[in-house]
């Protein structure tokens, strides 16, 4: 792998930029691997990278049914932050945020991580109380959180509707300045390139259609490109955890739902922080290209359609326009959906499964992009050693039977309420 650098770019300028290698190989599957990771999203690729980098396990394949990053990695609204209320969550996500901060250097790939601040708006006294409580919890854990007055919010985002007639009055906010956005495709490409350089086989157009289990232990996978043996198999398929676990006869505390996002035509910089809301479900940010990226609620019933309901889009657009009236002037250019793995406490599952050698990383709901490096790091440790990373220990599958769920929204086993 030739390193990307300013010098290499300059050298290329003299030779027509013809010296670049392909970013990762396109290998044929081998007969067997020490570890197979199913799913070439950001999480699967980062898992493979840390398996090779941290644990020295290089006989690894990532099997992706389509193209890498074509799942939720390439469909999300790219928000990265660690300001969750529950300690298990904010500790884990803050570990991930630390890895985001060094990711471009680590991977020698510009993932355009942009810590432009992630701000929650408060629309009532009770919103502000819960933001203050959350902020206190974060500060006690050494995680940055800043409560903002109404005037501070207005200064940060002058285009917010602060008038007395505003549909959603703004009482103040809470910002995590280290939060922000990243270029989602680049995250998949960067991890794929770095993993490939360490010897990992990134195999696209290779769908896993069966799991080979012998004597209670996983022995390999069946794929659209033939059977492949494996010492260990890690499921990491975002919205498809249900069907893939079913290949081993396992039912999970997960339900698939559709989540949508959309983007407007590109405009000059108008919103330079990420805006979220404590009581609405709408997030607004501006991409580096200029488009305003908006997301809303899941459809709230099981779906693998990757095509959401228009009323969800309408609701998100109505809320966004009420918050930032200037957005009503912009044309929407694209909308799309992803299938999310809604877990029954809203928290991820990084866990062993009842079949030896088979592991699960899933249940990221609508919030797993920000976890990408931490998720891969912790899952690699589980796959390499069989024991969970301490920060991922609260996210084992056994928590549901033990009554030790990590439930940020407090709605129990009802993903349609989440």
């Amino acid at each position: 792998m030739s390193r990307y650098s300013a010098l290499a770019l300059l050298r290329g300028a003299l030779t027509g930029q013809k010296h670049w290698d392909r970013a990762w190989r396109d290998p044929e599957p081998k007969a067997s691997y020490d570890v197979i990771v199913i799913g070439g999203g950001g999480h699967g690729l980062s898992t493979a990278y840390y398996l090779a980098k941290v644990h020295g396990i290089r006989n690894v394949a990532v099997l992706e049914k389509g193209w890498i990053g074509g799942g939720n990695t390439g469909r999300n609204t790219t928000i990265v932050r660690s300001n969750y209320r529950q300690p298990a969550l904010h500790n884990f996500f803050d570990f991930a945020l630390g890895l985001w901060e060094g990711m471009s250097d680590e991977l020698n790939f510009n993932v355009m991580f942009s810590p432009r601040g992630a701000m929650f708006l408060g629309h009532s006294d009770s919103d502000m109380t819960s933001l203050a409580q959350r902020g206190d919890a974060l500060r006690c854990a050494g995680i940055d959180a800043e409560l903002l007055t109404r005037a501070q919010v207005q200064k940060l985002v002058p285009l917010l509707d602060m008038s007395p007639a505003a549909r959603f009055p703004i009482y103040g906010g809470m910002i995590q300045r280290r939060g922000g956005t990243a270029r989602h495709d680049a995250v998949a490409w960067g991890y794929a390139r770095a993993a490939d350089a360490l010897g990992v086989d990134v195999i696209q157009n290779c769908e896993v259609t069966g799991l080979t289990i012998a004597g209670g232990r996983v022995a390999g996978v069946e794929t659209t490109r033939g059977a492949i043996g494996a010492g260990r198999v890690g499921i990491c398929v975002a919205g498809n955890s249900g069907p893939v676990a079913a290949l081993a006869g396992i039912k999970l505390p997960i339900e698939a739902q559709t989540l949508q996002a959309f983007v407007t035509e590109p405009v000059k910089p108008m919103i330079d922080t990420v805006i979220m809301s404590q009581s609405l479900h709408c997030y607004i940010s501006q991409s580096d290209k200029g488009g305003i990226v908006l997301g809303g609620d899941p459809d709230q019933f099981p779906s693998y359609a990757q095509r959401g309901l228009p009323n969800r889009l309408e609701k998100a657009a109505a809320e966004a326009i009420a918050l930032v009236p200037a957005l009503s002037r912009l044309r929407m250019v694209r909308c799309w959906s992803g299938t999310t793995d809604m877990s029954f406490d809203g928290s991820p599952i990084i866990s062993t499964l009842p079949v030896d050698g088979l592991y699960l990383n899933g249940g990221w709901c609508y919030g797993g992009f920000k976890a990408t490096p931490g998720s891969g790091f912790a899952y690699a440790q589980l796959l390499a050693t069989g024991a969970p990373h301490p920060l991922a220990a609260p996210f084992g599958l056994d928590r549901f039977a033990r009554g030790a769920t990590v439930d940020e929204a407090g709605v129990g086993p009802m993903p349609q309420l989440r």
Binding site: N240, A246, K251, L252, P302, Y304, L309, A401, P413
Partner: protein, 83 residues
């Protein structure tokens, strides 16, 4: 949006209905606790046909069993739920 043909009210927009859970997640009172936990906390989560409990919340308020395809959203049948 789906069109759901309520046996009492006829075809109505999905926004009148609320999805509740899949049929395999209904927990009768007499169910042993371990089994009830399993029913509450796991799902087949099929990529295909699924039997689901829906509530005609802003209509006749009946509970209905909707057999629906989770990829195409096609609805095969809607019948009243009899526990």
């Amino acid at each position: 949006m789906l069109s759901i043909d309520c046996p009492h009210c006829g075809p109505r927009a999905q926004s009148e209905f609320a999805y509740d859970r899949t049929l395999d997640a209904i927990v009768p009172l007499a169910m042993p606790p371990a089994e009830a936990m399993r029913a509450l906390y796991t799902r087949a989560n099929p990529r295909g046909w699924s039997d689901e409990l829906w509530h005609h919340r802003f209509g006749c308020r009946a509970w209905l069993v909707v057999r629906r395809h989770t990829v195409t959203h096609a609805i095969e049948s809607v019948i009243g739920y009899a526990p």
